[in-house]
Amino acid sequence: MRATVKGTLRALFALIVTTGVAAAQSNVLRIDVEATRSRDSVAGTVDEAVLKFARRTEALTGGYRATRLRNLGMEGAAVLLPPVRVEIRPSGTRSVAQGGDLVLVFDNTGERAFPESYRVFLETVFTNAKATMNLVFGAPALGGEVRVANYDADIGDRDAVAGGYYLPDNGSGEREIRFPVYQNPETAAVNFIHTLLLAYQGNKTYAFDAFQEGLVRAATMKIARTPAAMPGLDRDQIEATLASTYEIGPWYDWNNQPSLAARQFIAPNLRNLPLPAGGSIGGLYLLRFMMAGSAWEKVLIEYPNFIREFNERFYQQPTLRNNVPGLVALGQNVLNALRPANPQVEGRTFADWYRHQYVLDTHLTRGLKLHVSPQPIVFGLGGADFGVFDFQTTFFSTEEGGREQLLTGTSYPIFWNSTFDRLFPSAQDERIDIVASYGSVTPNFPDENAGIPYRVAADIPVLDELVRVHVPAGAVATATKPTPNDLYGTVEGIFPAVGVSYLVRALVGGNVLGTAPVTDGAFGVRIGTALWRSAQPVLLEVQRTSGTTTTTVYSRRVNKAPGSLAVDLRIGGEATVQISLLKGINMTGFPVDPFSQWNPDVMNLAASETLAARWNPSIGKYNLFPDLEPFQIGHGYFVRVPSNRTLGVDGYVAPPNTPWSVSLKPGWNLVASPLRSSISTDRVLVVKGTGFPVTFAEAEGVELGTDFFHFVRGGNDPVSGAPETGSYSPASQFEPSRGYFVRCLAPEGATLTFFPTDAPPTQARASAAPAGHAWRLRVQATGGGRSTQSVLAMSATATGGFDPAEDSPLPPGIGGFQIGSQVNASRYFRDVRRTSAGDTYTVVLDGLAVGAAYTVTLTEEKARARQVSVSRDGGRAVGFTGVGRITFVAESPSTTMTVKVVR
């Protein structure tokens, strides 16, 4: 109650002060009335308001007024005058035209007062920009007073970086802009417009920063770039401000990554924390602001009136504020209205365009997040500088409520050239130390081929997160060609061949403004015209020429920001991937990075029905949805679905002939092939830390466990009618859309790179067969529609105990069909013993369905023993050489076989 009274008094004083200050101009009492009222009721309302105002002013003693005015620094300067003019303004669900102007209220003294010159400057900024603001953003949803308070002393670092903020209610019933004192006038002006636009929305704000801040920042950029709106200010300084905190500039493509998705851009737990020391900007918030601004800027480039129209329609239906599908539909409606003939953005429907912009995904998702922001270094190049790029890494986790933890870690980046040979730029670029969420390296990719640009695939892994970005070495600026190109990028999914060439064309309005040959997956050109450097829609085409035949193999529309443009053109890099799930439990894998970051959407289930999990070896537990990360390429998951279904997962995929990588933590990792075809292990390379890639076979028993496993669904649950459990079986290759458990033995983790069959074969070496086996027998059991297997072997290097490089323990089942060799209290999938003249193995089958028929096939894979015999549950032994087979009907869920070997 105290706050309310105080708030009322403050509001009244604000009115008094405003009217007092304005007395020299006009002394106005503004009164809101319902738009639909009759003339009589309007008159009644006005009378009542004037009377109330008069009573309230009378209630204030002269002494109190004097004190208050003195505190405001207006002692003797302001005279309380009764209103001499009444403005009647419609209220209630008013439309934009009914909103009225903002009236800025500043404290003149006290801790929230700005220096006089700064206050005057801010007022002037508003006065000058108001017309353009109304044109770009629409008139205020709610006019009237907005307090502008000096929070220079206590605004959060991140909010200051973001450019101030606005509160629809500061707790005292006032609308308030909280703003710091920026030393640079252009920065102050741009940021003040940003907060003014936030205040334009009154109390009709969007619930998500992707809309709220994104739309405002895009509009701010457009206003700030309108010279008439910013008279007397330095254009270069304005551009510098926009470049540093408002837009991502040429590099939208490179930064469009899933980790940007968030409900609020500044995590609530970080809002009031100071920025960490040591260069970290303290999280991903700034990049989110910039990417969101740039995303909506793309729409503005094609539809200059989009934001105004969008806002005006939103103000009519403010309940859409937290309804993303509704807002997306609203976006399409606006396009329909503004350009009925072709209502698309960058060649896509609004919904399709929207889902391609990760920063506009408003879902609150949890788990580890990694973002890699590459930027070319184009100044100060010298010596052997050819492809210098700064890779800034942000590593954090998101928890319940959107809290973010700024994490510490180490990344061993892997740089591949266009033929996927690992590059080692220099020792200092082989490791990124990430402290307080931030770390970076700035490698120089060497000139490999007489100055010809080439594509670099940068895999940046941290724990089991990995981000792949492609950059064009030698295509931006080099020591010998220091003038930067203004169109550059990379192309994936092309097939170089003798007599075949590729080029990229940039067209504006149907006219070719520039072309650049694609060399080793990279291209760069300096177009240099004023037309190119302006913000506009651009059509990019990749053309293939073979002999005299030229065909366009790829085209993409990009609404470019002012200046240069960097793109990553992924031919065949998007797809709808079909992932089949059966009723019950599944261990699946994603060869696709879904556009949607919300797992229930991907699974076509309500959040309350979603069962999805991924093993986290760091804590020895599953991360269960909703703690689970968003599904991502190369990761495997347990999921449970209530009915058979095929997911059509839209997202980014590895383009044709492009290897893709998966990062492993120490311990067991639930992974998947990132490719959409079967990949044998001899097409998988393993990289540990700063080392050279080795084959999968070479890594087994060293960086990786001896075996990797897939999931075998168990029998049907008698009640649900579907498998709810299962067991593991060793795998020999990676099938698409399946999950696998792969064990990493390296403390620093490792990275698997999967080479498709149409990729450069240079490093895809043949996998070595399991080394050193003097004898090996494969035992395969089938029955009840299921199959499982085990290996018994002898080797000169094995011991009687468990040998990590040779033996392979049997994974614990959860009720499924399993076979394993019993050694003391353990069971092994692969039981390798010291080479000897003979030995006896005890093989146990579990998970049998009583009454079902089973066949066990024993195959000598390496060498022939003089005699092998097998008996079951103490029964008669059956001898064989080469291949033996026994069949039986299960009398119990478990049976034991004894295998005797004489060599």
Partner: protein, 293 residues
């Protein structure tokens, strides 16, 4: 920024030196093997870089000055030495205890020095079981110690400087049967001369098998002799939705969406019942029961 980059440079240079050392083969020890070549870096926690004037590194009777550019040093130390003294004009002397120096080419890593000294404390814990790990070796800022029986460690005399590179120092903890774990004191400031880094989690290496599948309702059934093979039916709203069998270890598991469920256990003439509520599907609830006639 400068500090972090300097540290990065030092660490990378250290790595490069270590790699170079791999191929170098040694040979710098004195005849008879009375000394061993030892390398390392001396770095200021104030600046994250090398120190001027050059610090003196002393091991036994041998001493050398660290490089002014990157803080590196190489010294022929008396074999078996266990102490390194680093003396700087600004910070005085720092004493580092090391394992007996017996191997040629031993790399001491980065020895941090600074204007203040603090004690770093923490606890080494098994990441999967939350059990404390006794005897873990913990290194931080060049200082090292061994965790006690409760997994707690105390490292005195760690270099510290306000607003310096202290937060970027990476500590490591190692224990038999675990992957090495790292930690930092990022964002922490001393209280009473102590900096508590909290829990340092280590992941077990000896986890030889993939984990069983996920679940969010589980429990143990007793008596142990009767539990295996007992049937467990999970019902929601009176309708059975799942059924499983208690394993040989007396445990059962279900993975279901959030909701309120009843559990019915039966084996022969033994039975038990329980109710379980999951407020969210990421909640894991343990419900133990005892079968009775």
């Amino acid at each position: 920024m400068t500090s972090a980059r300097s540290l990065l440079f030092v660490l990378i240079a250290l790595l490069a030196l270590a790699l170079a050392g791999c191929g170098g083969g040694g040979g710098s020890g004195s005849p008879g093997g009375q000394t061993v070549r030892v390398t390392g870096y001396v770095v200021s926690v104030e600046s994250g870089g090398a120190i001027a004037p050059r610090p003196t590194v002393q091991i036994g009777s041998a001493s050398v000055q660290a490089d002014v550019n990157d803080g590196s040093f190489a010294i022929d130390a008396p074999k078996g030495s266990t102490e390194v003294l680093v003396t700087t004009e600004a910070y005085g002397t720092f004493r580092f205890t090391v394992p007996p120096l017996v191997e040629e080419g031993t790399d001491l890593g980065v020895l941090w020095v600074g204007p203040q000294k603090v004690t770093v404390t923490g606890t080494v814990v098994d990441a999967t079981s939350n059990a404390r790990i006794p005897g873990a070796t913990v290194l931080f800022g060049g200082q090292r110690t061994t965790a006690n029986a409760q997994g707690e460690f105390t490292i005195p005399n760690v270099a510290y400087a306000p607003n310096g590179a202290f937060g970027s120092i990476q500590g490591t903890a190692r224990a038999n049967g675990y992957f090495a774990g790292s930690f930092t004191a990022e964002g922490l400031t001393p209280s009473g001369g102590r900096v508590d880094v909290g829990t340092v989690l280590l992941t077990p290496v000896g986890d030889d098998t993939p984990p069983p599948g996920p679940y969010n309702i589980w429990g143990r059934v007793t008596p142990a002799a009767d539990a295996p093979g007992a049937t467990v039916v999970l019902s929601e709203g009176g309708n059975a939705i799942r059924q499983t069998t208690v394993g040989q270890d007396g445990r059962y598991f279900f993975w279901v969406p959030a909701g309120t469920y009843t559990l019915s256990f039966t084996k022969g003439n033994l039975s038990a019942g329980a109710t379980v509520s999951l407020t969210d599907s990421n909640q894991v609830v343990q419900k133990d029961v005892t079968l009775s006639p």
